[in-house]
């Protein structure tokens, strides 16, 4: 610990306003990363006070330090292994008693503590009065009243942090009662008698308590340091546990946890000068509408629609602007380039278009995260999960899975990112895996091309609707499958706090939003860029030396410039790696009703769904085609049957998550394994389903 630098960890319950305290302390000087080895966000920042530089780490919100969830484990590991100088425990003053459960664990760890009684304005308004001095004495900590959202009490907090550095340590021991107290003494004696004196980084008392609770970490610590003696200690612990559990019929760890809650409650009663009034709060009144049995769901659906609408409509304008900008850039470079042809193509078609493909998503993502930040910061997100849980649980998911899936109907990329609100890995993975089956907006371009080409007016809406429904049904099936096999596990409890509604601060929401956008740019961009270049190479190389069409022109065929160009493009694509792959897999695709042209276009679709349409246009020598193109539809009608058209849509629905999806999947799940498994699984599923549809269809029609 350098003289002029301190590390502070900010801990506290979820919904205690921890983030606003962190923001108030660090302002713009913060950045987001990951805790090593896990996909939990790590927020770090710093500030300077009276010449001292203070590094701040925002720990995940937790209710306890028992390490039952990943968030808890991360918070705990940081406190225990990284030894921050000070811990700032941010407490929701209106939930003080419950918050003391976590606080007491910090006290037992003998860390230097600052208690930030946050949301103190609301607590005062409710009539609650606490004896701050007594709190400081009982817990041997600095006590400060703050209102994070209004940045009140922040200076006092900074002072308190400095003051805490020079506070004298006092061993505070909570009363676990006679039975457990004795047990702790027994274990303590065993530890002390083993000779190793305070070599453990934590007080023997804490170790004794944790051993009795069955804490894996404490177990490991004992094994490490005491070797021979550790067996004796652990055996003693086991015996005590058997005896006590025999009496009570509950596990020792639960009994001790309840005991701990008991002294948190006792402490609260001691320091409480005036009780808060039990008057119905505004938040409850609002909930009378929001989670109302009758209008709750309509309100929910309208809000979902609003978020959706906002994300994709508001995003349209900046998206167009960026598309145009990218187009302008590639055109300019194209025209003024004087270097080698190949390099130009790499830069224009590969890099600029690749990066452009990433940037184009940015407005959508930023707006979406604005929506999510608003929902989270106001407290609405918890209500949404509350309302939807029954439905989601039936499928094997969690209430919080609903919103990401809805977003998936617009675009998989922000949808997968939105699964961050799911705390439990299995729920999160299961949700992420099936999001691509929520037919996204880009796939709509494929449907818009094919449906009018093959189906009469009366059928069109029904076919489109059917495609979406197939996606949803498959998703439900796959989740059920995943949850009974590889992602099986006990349903994570839905014990969730519905925090009081709060007015979000603009600063808080914007910071929230901007952090996510930055992350997206940094990580997804690199992968997408790499894949763009690969796709470019696949569709451009090898180059044809002589075009058939040129020979035809020389032989006398009359063609316009543009006709010659499109014919050349068709030949080039056919000659390229992508084209050859298309031809090579044709035999495998024939049972699905696909020929090499469709297959080649599907390969292009990996870059982005919309590319399917334009590649198809090239292959049929239409030139620049989009989904409105009549001539392309003509060609399709000439060459394929409606059944094939249907099969193409089904294949496109299930398979080919675009590369952006693969990239985001890798980033959000933390491993390539899941991204590849998803890609392979969906492709295989698409193959099988399309095969069945085509073969059975052929028999029927």
């Amino acid at each position: 610990m350098k003289q002029n630098q301190i590390t502070v960890a900010i801990a506290g319950n979820p919904n205690s306003g921890k983030t606003s305290i962190f923001n108030a302390l660090t302002g713009a000087h913060q950045h987001v990363g990951n805790y090593p080895g896990v996909t939990v966000e790590k927020k770090e920042g710093s500030f300077v006070h009276n010449g001292v530089r203070i590094e701040v780490v925002d720990l995940p919100g937790t209710y306890g330090l028992e390490a039952t969830s990943l968030d808890e484990k991360v918070a705990r590991d940081f406190v225990i292994h990284e030894h921050p100088d000070i811990i700032v425990d941010v407490v929701d003053s209106c939930n003080f008693e419950r918050s003391l459960y976590l606080t007491s664990q910090f006290v037992e760890l003998d860390v230097k503590l600052v208690l930030a009684l946050n949301m103190s304005d609301m607590a005062h308004a409710s009539g609650q009065m606490l004896d701050l001095k007594m709190i400081g004495e009982r817990l041997n900590c600095e006590v400060v009243e703050t209102v994070g959202s209004k940045e009140t009490g922040i200076d006092e907090l900074k002072e308190a942090i400095i003051a805490a550095m020079s506070r004298e340590k006092k061993e505070i021991r909570f009363d676990y009662g006679e039975e457990f107290g004795e047990a702790i003494e027994e274990v303590l004696a065993a530890i002390k008698s083993s000779g190793k004196d305070r070599m453990l980084p934590h007080t023997d008392h804490w170790i004794a308590v944790k051993l009795l609770e069955g804490d894996i970490e404490a177990d490991a610590l004992i094994r490490e340091l005491h070797s021979g003696n550790s067996e004796r200690i652990l055996k003693l612990v086991g015996e005590i546990r058997k005896k006590i559990e025999g009496h009570h019929g509950d596990t020792l760890s639960v009994l001790m946890a309840e005991r701990r809650y008991g002294f948190a409650a006792g402490l609260y009663r001691e320091v409480l000068r005036k009780e808060p009034s039990e008057r119905r709060k505004t938040s409850d009144k609002i909930d009378d509408f929001i989670t109302n049995r009758i209008i709750g769901i309509p309100i929910f659906l309208s809000l979902m629609y609003a978020v959706f609408y906002m994300t994709f409509k508001l995003g349209e304008f900046p998206m167009r602007a960026i598309e145009d900008g990218v187009g302008f850039l590639s055109h300019t470079v194209s025209v003024h380039w004087h270097g080698p042809e190949a390099l130009k193509s790499l830069i224009v078609d590969g890099v600029i278009n690749g990066v452009g493909g990433v940037l184009v998503f940015l407005p959508t993502i930023v707006i979406l995260f604005l929506g999510i930040a608003l929902m989270e910061d106001t407290g609405y997100m918890a209500r949404a999960a509350f309302i939807m849980d029954r439905l989601m649980h039936k499928i094997g998911l969690h209430g919080k899975s609903f919103i990401p899936m809805i977003i998936g109907f617009g675009c998989s990329v922000p949808a997968i990112m939105a699964t961050r609100t799911l705390e439990h890995r299995r729920d999160r993975l299961a949700t992420m895996m099936v999001i691509p089956l929520m037919s996204c907006g880009a796939r709509l371009t494929i449907y818009s091309l094919i449906i009018p080409a093959f189906f009469p007016d009366a059928w069109r809406a029904k076919v489109l609707w059917a495609v979406y429904v197939v996606g949803i049904l498959l998703a439900i099936g796959i989740v059920k499958l995943l949850r009974t096999t590889v992602l099986a596990g006990e349903s994570t409890p839905f014990v969730m706090e519905l925090p009081p509604y709060r007015m979000p601060t603009i600063k808080g929401v914007l910071i929230h939003m901007w952090e996510r956008a930055k992350l997206y740019l940094r990580k997804a961009a690199t992968i997408i860029l790499a894949i763009s270049i690969v796709m470019w190479a696949l569709t451009s190389y090898p180059k044809l030396k002589h075009y058939e069409i040129d020979r035809a022109v020389e032989a006398g065929t009359m063609l316009t410039e543009s006709e010659i160009n499109t014919a050349r493009a068709a030949e080039a694509l056919s000659y390229s790696v992508a084209g050859r792959i298309g031809k090579a897999i044709e035999p495998a695709m024939k049972p699905l009703g696909f020929d090499w042209k469709i297959s080649t276009a599907l390969i292009g679709a990996f870059a982005a769904k919309e590319v399917f349409v334009s590649q198809l246009g090239i292959v049929f020598s239409i030139g620049e085609a989009d989904e409105e193109s009549f001539s392309l539809r003509e060609e399709l009608r000439k060459n394929y049957s409606p059944l094939v058209g249907l099969c193409v849509m089904i294949f496109a629905l299930i398979a080919t998550p675009c590369m952006a999806t693969v990239a985001i999947m890798r980033r959000e799940s933390g491993r390539w394994f899941y991204a590849i498994a998803q890609f392979a699984g969906l492709t295989a599923l698409a193959y099988v389903v399309t095969l069945l549809v085509f073969q059975i269809g052929r028999l029927i029609i």
């Binding site: 459960y101 909930d287 918890a382 029954r390 839905f494 706090e497 519905l498």
Partner: protein
């Protein structure tokens, strides 16, 4: 009069007698202040019939019916 938490009426105030669940669920309950002797009130039921919203020490906690079924409670008679 004895009952389990999932069977009480909206607005009813009850005291926890015993909790049958164990494991992670039990830990979560304790963290929220739901343990023997605690006072709970059923605030409302979600539109789809599940989960339940319970008031504990001034905070609102959601709980699935199945999770609530493991909590044995007794009605607190109003004394005025």
């Amino acid at each position: 009069m004895n009952n389990t938490l999932d069977k009480i009426k909206i607005g009813e105030k009850v005291r926890v007698i015993k909790i049958a669940s164990g494991g992670i669920l039990r830990k979560r309950l304790v963290e929220m202040g739901i343990l023997s002797g605690a006072t709970l009130t059923l605030v409302r039921i979600a539109p789809l019939g599940d989960p339940l919203e319970i008031k504990v020490k001034g905070a609102n906690i959601s709980l699935r019916r199945r999770e609530a079924a493991g909590i044995r409670v007794e009605k607190i008679s109003r004394k005025k």
